[in-house]
């Protein structure tokens, strides 16, 4: 069974403005997918539809085979597909970290004894064990987002949806969150990361590019980043290392075509100048 499958998904507002236009995507269980698109491309709307926060105008969304248009399924879908939003300050509901994480499981009626265990596990997964009794307002942005992720993990979701969850963080906070997300994916959780940081898409399994509510590109990061002209047309940009590599190649340096990360470019450049 697919973790997520949409068919001919359309969404428009009452004033007729079309946000999603015939979107067909599917995500395998355990996959790590990055959804890229400029502001207004429809990516956040898509996330909200997956989670049942918005209802599509037409078409269907199935999460583990459960149709989100059937209200009876919503409870189950939200339990299995957890979402983390952009602003860390808007997602805290309690004044102590452990209460904040307990909020979700309490809501779905998890027995109190098990809630304690879930809090332990969730905090360990995001490496925040030492902050169990801390006050969320005193944490850094990266730490707050990890607590928000822990809050979702306490519901034992099978899909984790990140809606620009690193956009408001500094580079250090972003790194913290992304490394936790990678580990969660390695442990089997399906990840859908909605972002416009191209670097975050470098080590995912598949990239989906949305533009004007349509799926324009789909493929491995290598395949997608190789099509730089198209990316630009859709308001995106290559990772900086890829841009520099491309320009150097155009200037006559024998740099391989599939260079997208800083590490890879550094290695090639050094070898090149060392040899010569």
């Amino acid at each position: 069974m697919k973790a997520l499958e949409t068919s001919n998904l359309n969404f428009s507002y009452e004033d007729g403005k079309t946000i999603l236009n015939d979107v067909n995507i599917s995500v395998e269980q355990g996959e790590y997918v990055c959804l890229l698109g400029k502001n207004g491309s429809g990516k956040s709307t898509l996330a909200r539809i997956i989670n049942g926060l918005l209802t599509p105008t037409s078409g269907t969304v199935k999460v583990f085979g459960l149709d989100s248009s059937d209200k009876a399924n919503l409870f189950e879908i939200r339990k299995r597909a957890g979402m983390v939003f952009q602003n860390p300050d808007n997602q805290m509901v309690a004044s102590i970290v452990e209460d904040d994480i307990a909020f979700g499981p309490e809501n779905i009626g998890v027995p109190p004894k098990e809630i304690g265990e879930r809090i332990d596990q969730a905090l360990a997964a995001v490496k925040m064990q030492d902050f169990r009794k801390a006050t969320p307002t005193r944490l850094s942005g990266g730490q707050k987002q990890r607590i928000a992720i822990a809050g979702v993990l306490a519901l034992k979701p099978e899909i984790l949806i990140l809606d620009e969850s690193t956009a408001m963080l500094d580079p250090h906070g972003r790194e913290e969150v992304m490394s936790v997300v990678k580990e969660l994916n390695a442990s089997g959780i399906t990840v859908i990361n909605i972002t416009h940081y191209m670097d975050e898409a470098l080590d995912c399994d598949r990239v989906i590019v949305l533009f004007d509510g349509k799926v324009m590109m789909q493929g491995s990061p290598t395949e997608v980043f190789a099509r730089s002209n198209e990316l630009e047309k859709y308001g995106l940009a290559m990772p900086k290392a890829a841009y520099i590599a491309q320009k150097l190649r155009a200037g006559g340096l024998p740099i391989s075509k599939n260079i997208y990360s800083g590490e890879a470019l550094e290695k090639e450049l050094c070898e090149l100048f060392h040899r010569g």
């Binding site: 698109g37 400029k38 502001n39 207004g40 952009q86 850094s140 942005g141 620009e164 956009a167 408001m168 500094d170 580079p171 250090h172 906070g173 416009h196 191209m198 308001g235 995106l236 940009a237 900086k240 290392a241 841009y243 520099i244 320009k247 150097l248 200037g251 006559g252 340096l253 800083g262 470019l265 550094e266 450049l269 050094c270 090149l272 100048f273 060392h274 010569g276």
Partner: protein, 319 residues
């Protein structure tokens, strides 16, 4: 207008158990005409510093001049200890403390129309019913004697300067605009008073790559045409390397370096010591230096690329 701070120090929650020094002895000059960058971790003191620049935080210890304006604010006891000659706004005779405070406040208000500060995510601070109302607020606040025609002229100019179509957006609710447009409206609301200095805290945070490129280009246009000095606070070393003429590095409330990118990023060790990264170009250049190839660059991508290509061609010619 130059900005000159000497020994600027700020303590939060002074004389309480929560006392903490946010700024320690900052001595820094920002010359008129710079496109100045301030970098540092969250909590490094950079935000506290910029809040001093337009008097949102009054100077308590040390000194700060923004143009001719002395930003120092004297507490009651401190003021009482001043002589008639040393007291600000005194013409031979010191003012009463109440009058002094009033004069200081008026001075700060005047200054704020000349030093604009755009905070992080300024679009969250929009409040007007229409774009026009929102942008006009600054004019009405700072130049209350303006006629409606003057207000309209200034608003129109500001909206055009941030790259929006005036006739299209002026009657719209700012909340109906896209994220990038909202940010531009917020920026228009600040430049509408025609400040000479514009300070922006993380101006491109949260924007997509195209939006980021456009906003930075807009800032350069403003810098070239209307605003003398621009100061940006940024986490992104690549943005700083690409855009700034000079950079100040803050760490734990201290100023640890001030230099143009060309010098600052040549030796990344100092930055690494305080847990900051260097731009990608600097990282590549220092790796190349280890193989014996020195790239003399200002660390902008274009300059780096052309110098590496040049080096490579010379090598090929020789061999």
């Amino acid at each position: 207008m130059r900005i000159v701070s000497q020994g600027l120090t700020y303590t939060y929650n002074k004389s309480t158990p929560f006392e903490s020094k946010a700024l320690k002895n900052i001595t820094l000059t920002v010359e008129e005409g710079e496109f100045f960058g301030i970098i540092g971790h969250t909590g490094s003191g950079k935000s506290t510093f910029i809040q001093h620049l337009n008097g949102l935080i009054p100077v308590s210890e040390g000194s700060l001049y923004v143009g001719e304006t002395n930003m120092k604010f004297y507490g009651k006891k401190e003021y009482a200890a001043l002589s008639d000659q040393n007291a600000p706004y005194a013409e031979g005779k010191k003012l009463s403390y109440r009058k002094y405070k009033k004069a200081y406040k008026a001075d700060m208000k005047k200054l704020r129309s000349r030093v604009g500060v755009v905070f992080q995510y300024p679009e969250y601070q929009l409040f007007g019913e229409t774009v026009f109302d929102d942008v006009a607020f600054g004019v009405k606040n700072f130049f209350p004697e303006s006629t409606p025609q003057e207000v309209e002229k200034r608003v129109k100019e500001a909206v055009l300067r941030v790259g929006l179509n005036y006739d299209e957006v002026k009657d719209k609710s700012p909340f109906d605009l896209s994220g990038g447009q909202k940010r531009r409206v917020a920026l228009a609301g600040v430049i509408v008073t025609e400040p000479q200095i514009l300070v922006l805290d993380e101006p491109v945070a949260g924007l997509d790559p195209q939006g980021k490129k456009e906003l930075l280009a807009l800032l350069h246009t403003l810098h070239k045409n209307v605003i003398k000095t621009i100061i940006i606070v940024s986490h992104d070393m690549d943005d700083v390397a690409e855009n700034c003429t000079k950079v100040a590095v803050f760490s734990k409330g201290e100023l640890i370096a001030v230099a143009p990118p060309r010098e600052l990023f040549k030796d990344g060790e100092k930055l690494k010591e305080v847990g900051l990264d260097v731009p990608l170009t600097a990282r590549l250049a220092s790796a190349l230096a280890e193989t014996g190839t020195v790239i003399d660059t200002d660390f902008t991508a274009e300059d780096f690329i052309s110098r590496v290509i040049e080096k490579y061609k010379n090598r090929v010619k020789r061999t």
